[in-house]
């Protein structure tokens, strides 16, 4: 994370620690002193560790000066090594997760260099990412900078070059920025493999990860340096308490039958007032569609802000995004509406407050977003939660409580990603080849592949050499070939193709949105645009548009004068489930608030929803840690069962599918499923199982994995998920569009593999990843185990209870057209309010 330069003096109250004996930190202190600052203890600690040749992880909140700790530390290490006599060349590789961050990172590292001539004479910084032009890449190759800022993909490409060992021959240090972001992803696995490769090329290499605080920092260390070196690695904490104020907007009057999306816009006047009181506000939403809606609503509410407002999400064109970022930096923006696209990034300076629309769903996300504000000298970070339905008020309170207690979630690194291994094997083969046993030993030094068995390794080598173990199935295929005990890439053309495929980013088929008169607006998913007809109006990049023509590659649009009846693109993904920590905290809050006298100590948010909880306990019962609540209700449209495991949306999707499948196995029936973060619903024309014993069996952990695989129609899901795996393993051609003869969809390749090479490990990986990513299998497993130890209470409710109502609303929403479901839910909520009587 970038150095929040202006805030440094206010926090630098700690005594200056002793300098290194060789005095090499003296220029650093001078640079700090010139600005009236002093280094933090953690900064000098990292300098010392680096100078002494130790690796480790530095964890600190957003915007506390991690960049300066690492960049100056790397310079200190270089100075300490000066005896080696290596002059010039690449000294430091700085890995950043987003190429959009590279330019800012270069600037932040460069800043102190001019005054550090005594220790870093002639040092320069440059970036090499997917955005770097061919010309710039060539110039880089002729003259490497001392510090190279790059992405995991770009680093892998460098490692695949013939002369990789030359390029990295003077490398001393690798810094991995935002390590927590990479950690639980395949790019993290790719980074682990690349780091281990670099260590083989440069045995003395030192690596540091810069991370936000995580519950499992030990894993973060082990993944960065490899499990065998973890004991010797350092874990440095920047224990700077950042002042953070979190408040929640509470709607008046509070409705008792909440449903997602409904309440949010009712808070618009309060949101406008909150934005009005601050100079610059960053408004975060959880999805891109929400961002579009809120941007539109805010602009309609305050047309006078329109010049000082911007929309920022992953589908908006890069140029429009940078304009928003520049506006934030220069302080000319009143407000920017963003999604997680602005979660990361070097400091944006004068943001006074952050608004979070919808529950933050996780504590680490809340901290990350809150950390975007209050970087001005002496400022306090301020975050305002804007719940989109009443129950989210409890989630906001739970998140606030967790922040106060200092707890945060874990991020578990991935293991056994065969696709990454297959890609890495070819990468190394491109660059001078490898001996099998040496590369295997190297790969096993990473955390990701520490437990790699011989059979899997054998399979990966076979996959690269012959396509797969079924030799006859892959005639004429060889990506790598063995010569005198070493494996090499089979041809230069294959090496070129491989490099191209490393850089490609997977995603759903997207379509560019362009003005008819010229200029790009961004990209939307093809599935959305292909449902529109010419003349249809929609909202995108914060503008009302009308579709003029869609020619398969580009959606040509004009500005729409009418601003009503606009459709909003739905983008896949982006809906994060409520974290385990938060859902447990929600149950605590409910328990405490409804205990005798609890109302006096309950947080404001929870006090506001007490009437809702009161009806819940009257019509059904309150959820708690020791009981699984099951509600049954018969409506005009059929029988409904609501189950409340409090395990997050993804787990509930999996559980609902599992239960439906287990019911259908004994009694054929058609059930419809719906879920949210608190529970799930099954409904159908016939009565759904109602006794407790039967529910215990339906949710039993016995045969869990087999049943899940069987019920999820796993082939279809795995087929859809295969895209990313196919790309990483080089099964779908990346890059060049010109090569039409070898274009194929991942789905098609999946079918051919399933039919003709069923033992392909990439298929097994796809199934495993579907389970984990679609349904958080580990968490689902834990949830089922926990349920086995709980009481199950089945309650028949006279009407839909307040807790069940939002799930039912989701169910109706998924079945009816927009106009119909709005009317239906509004009617229903009114009826229920009447039935509940005056509070």
């Amino acid at each position: 994370m970038g150095a929040p330069a202006p805030s440094q003096p206010k926090r630098g109250r700690r005594p200056t620690p002793p300098q290194a004996s060789d005095g090499s930190f003296e220029p650093f202190h001078r640079w700090f002193a010139d600005r009236g600052w002093k280094p933090f203890a953690f900064q000098t600690e990292v300098w010392e560790a680096l100078a002494a040749g130790s690796s480790g992880v530095l964890h600190a909140p957003t915007g506390t000066g991690k960049t300066l700790a690492a960049s100056l530390g790397a310079i200190a290490r270089s100075a300490a090594l000066a005896g080696d006599g290596a002059a010039g060349g690449l000294r430091v590789v700085w890995i950043t997760p987003l190429r959009a961050l590279a330019a800012d990172t270069v600037r932040a590292i460069e800043e102190p260099l001019p005054t550090l001539q005594s220790v870093a004479a002639g040092w320069s910084v440059a970036a090499r990412t997917g955005d770097t032009s061919t010309g710039d890449r060539r110039r880089l190759r002729e003259n490497w900078p001392a510090i190279l800022v790059t992405t995991p993909e770009s680093l892998s490409i460098l490692l695949s070059l013939d002369d990789a060992h030359e390029i990295f021959s003077s490398l001393e240090t690798v810094i991995v920025d935002e390590w927590h972001e990479l950690l639980s992803t395949k790019r993290g696995v790719q980074t682990e493999l690349a780091l281990e490769r670099l260590r083989s090329l440069r045995p003395g290499l030192v690596s540091w990860g810069l991370s936000a605080t995580l519950a499992n920092l030990d894993d973060a260390v082990a993944a960065l340096v490899g499990p065998s070196r973890a004991a010797a690695a350092r874990l440095v904490s920047a224990a700077i308490p950042r002042k953070l104020e979190i408040e929640t907007l509470i709607p008046e009057p509070m409705e008792r039958f909440p449903w997602a999306g409904h309440m949010g816009m009712r808070l618009l006047p309060q949101v406008v007032a909150a934005i009005d009181r601050a100079a610059t506000t960053l408004v975060f939403t959880n999805t891109r569609s929400q961002a579009e809606r809120w941007f539109d609503a805010l602009r309609s509410a305050r047309p006078d802000w329109s010049g000082a407002m911007a929309l920022h999400h992953g589908s908006v064109d890069r140029e429009l995004r940078s304009r928003a970022e520049d506006g934030l930096r220069s302080g000319t923006m009143k407000c920017v509406v963003a999604t997680s696209s602005l979660d990361l990034g070097v400091d944006f300076g004068p943001i006074e407050q952050v608004l979070q629309i919808g529950s933050p769903k996780g504590i680490s996300r809340l901290l990350q977003r809150a950390g975007r504000s209050g970087h001005a000298p002496g400022a306090v970070g301020r975050l305002v939660c804007v719940p989109t339905h009443a129950l989210e008020l409890i989630e906001c309170a739970a998140a606030r409580g967790a922040v106060a207690e200092g707890v945060v979630e874990a991020r578990v690194p991935l293991t056994a990603a065969v696709d990454c291994l297959a890609q890495h094997i070819v990468t190394v083969a491109c660059s001078g080849g490898f001996r099998e046993e040496e590369l295997l030993a190297e790969v096993r030094r990473t955390r990701a592949f520490a437990d790699l068995d011989d059979a899997s390794w054998r399979w990966a080598i076979d996959f690269a050499a012959r396509g797969g173990p079924a030799l006859a199935a892959y005639p004429d295929y060889a990506k790598i070939v063995e010569r005198f005990g070493r494996w090499y890439i089979a041809s230069k053309a294959l090496a070129r193709r491989h490099r191209m495929s490393i850089g490609t980013i997977a995603g759903d088929a997207t379509v560019e949105v362009k003005w008819l008169r010229g200029g790009r607006l961004g990209t939307v998913e093809e599935s959305f645009i292909s449902r529109l007809n010419a003349g249809d109006r929609f909202l995108f990049a914060g503008r009302p548009l009308v579709l003029f023509r869609f020619d398969g590659l580009t959606a040509w649009v004009k500005r729409s004068r009418a601003t009503i009846a606009l459709q909003v693109p739905r983008w896949n993904g982006g809906r994060m489930p409520l974290s385990t920590l938060l859902s447990s905290a929600v149950l605590d809050l409910v328990r405490d608030a409804t205990a005798p006298g609890g109302i006096t100590t309950a947080p404001r948010e929870v006090a506001a929803v007490l009437p809702l909880l009161e009806i819940q306990s009257r019509w059904s019962r309150l959820p708690d840690h020791d009981t699984l609540l099951v509600e049954t209700w018969q409506g005009r449209d059929g029988h409904h069962v609501f189950v409340f495991p409090f395990a997050g949306r993804l787990v509930h999707e999996g559980l609902a599918a599992l239960v439906a499948w287990r019911i259908a196995r004994s009694t054929p029936s058609t059930l419809t499923l719906a879920c949210n973060d608190w529970g799930f619903e099954l409904s159908g024309p016939d009565a759904v199982v109602a006794d407790e014993r039967a529910w215990r069996q339906l949710l039993s952990p016995v045969n869990l994995l087999d049943d899940l695989l069987a019920c999820l129609n796993s082939t279809e899901m795995a087929r859809r998920h295969f895209r990313e795996i196919a790309r990483v393993a080089g099964l779908v051609a990346g890059g060049s569009r010109s090569d039409r003869q070898t274009q194929a969809s991942a789905g098609l390749i999946f079918d051919v593999l399933a039919e003709h090479d069923a033992g392909n490990m990439l298929l097994a990986q796809a199934r495993r990843e579907v389970l984990e990513q679609q349904f958080e299998f580990r968490r689902l497993h834990d949830a089922v185990e926990a349920i086995a130890g709980k009481h199950i209470r089945v309650v028949s409710t006279p009407r839909i209870s307040p807790l069940a109502f939002p799930i039912w609303a989701e169910f109706v929403q998924s079945r009816l057209s927009t106009k119909d479901w709005l009317a239906r839910i509004t009617d229903m909520a009114r009826d229920l309010e009447q039935a509940a009587g005056k509070p």
Partner: protein
């Protein structure tokens, strides 16, 4: 033009003009002609040569299916509506040999190839393959056979029914709830039938539903008319 789904044998006695068969083929009872399109032989080999590990097997399975179709329909003639081969790079000796072997096993059937855009880049088709005639279009009233339906329509004013390939049509239908099924299909309008791609290792192009179009999902084990479902899926809000 009466298009029916073939459900029972013998096909030759059907009173329909065109019968749609399981296995992505069609049959013209009047002339005992079997129709297939877009086989793309050698596509997997093209991929492997480019360093993409696609297993062998799909082409062999397609050719075996073709042999079975010829045997069950007792077709006197086979018309391939273009793109029998995928690319020059994939036309290895093995690919040609496998086709020639299949050809030899259906020796009693005449084979006619309507040349497609992919076949053109192959260059001259070797005589050893046993293809009896190659042409760009073929007129045989009431039918007009062509590869690309849009570019080589019959002369205006002539009433004939075009049968074509090239598009690799697929259709998406929304089943109960949120499930969506996308599958290969036959698609027809007033005077045009477009065949699904016969080859298993071929992609698809999703047809948007327009009034007047008819769709049949074409699977190896059956054919199903989904015109109504496609209409419903196109109009329902998801």
């Amino acid at each position: 033009m009466r298009i029916d789904v073939a459900d029972s044998l013998p096909l030759a006695e059907s009173s329909a003009d065109i019968l749609l068969l399981p296995g992505r083929a069609a049959f013209l009872p009047a002339s005992a002609t079997l129709l297939i399109g877009d086989v793309h032989l050698g596509k997997a080999a093209t991929f492997r040569r480019a360093g993409i590990a696609v297993p062998e097997g799909s082409a062999q399975a397609d050719l075996a299916r073709l042999e079975r179709l010829v045997a069950t329909t007792k077709a006197r003639r086979l018309i391939v509506l273009g793109d029998l081969f995928h690319a020059r790079g994939g036309c290895t000796a093995q690919v040609f040999d496998e086709f020639a072997a299949t050809r030899a096993r259906i020796a009693g059937t005449e084979v006619m190839l309507i040349v497609g855009n992919h076949d053109r880049v192959i260059g001259k088709i070797p005589p050893s393959l046993g293809i009896d005639s190659c042409m760009r279009t073929h007129d045989e009233p009431p039918f007009h056979f062509v590869h690309e339906p849009a570019t080589e329509l019959p002369e205006p004013g002539r009433t004939c029914f075009t049968i074509a390939g090239h598009l690799h049509p697929t259709v998406s239908i929304t089943a109960s709830g949120r499930d969506r099924i996308t599958d290969r299909c036959f698609v027809a309008e007033e005077s045009l039938l477009v065949m699904p791609a016969f080859g298993s290792f071929t992609g698809g192009h999703r047809m948007r539903h327009v009034a007047g179009l008819r769709f049949w999902i074409a699977r190896d084990d059956g054919v199903a008319d989904v015109t109504r479902l496609a209409e419903f899926s196109a109009t329902s809000v998801r």
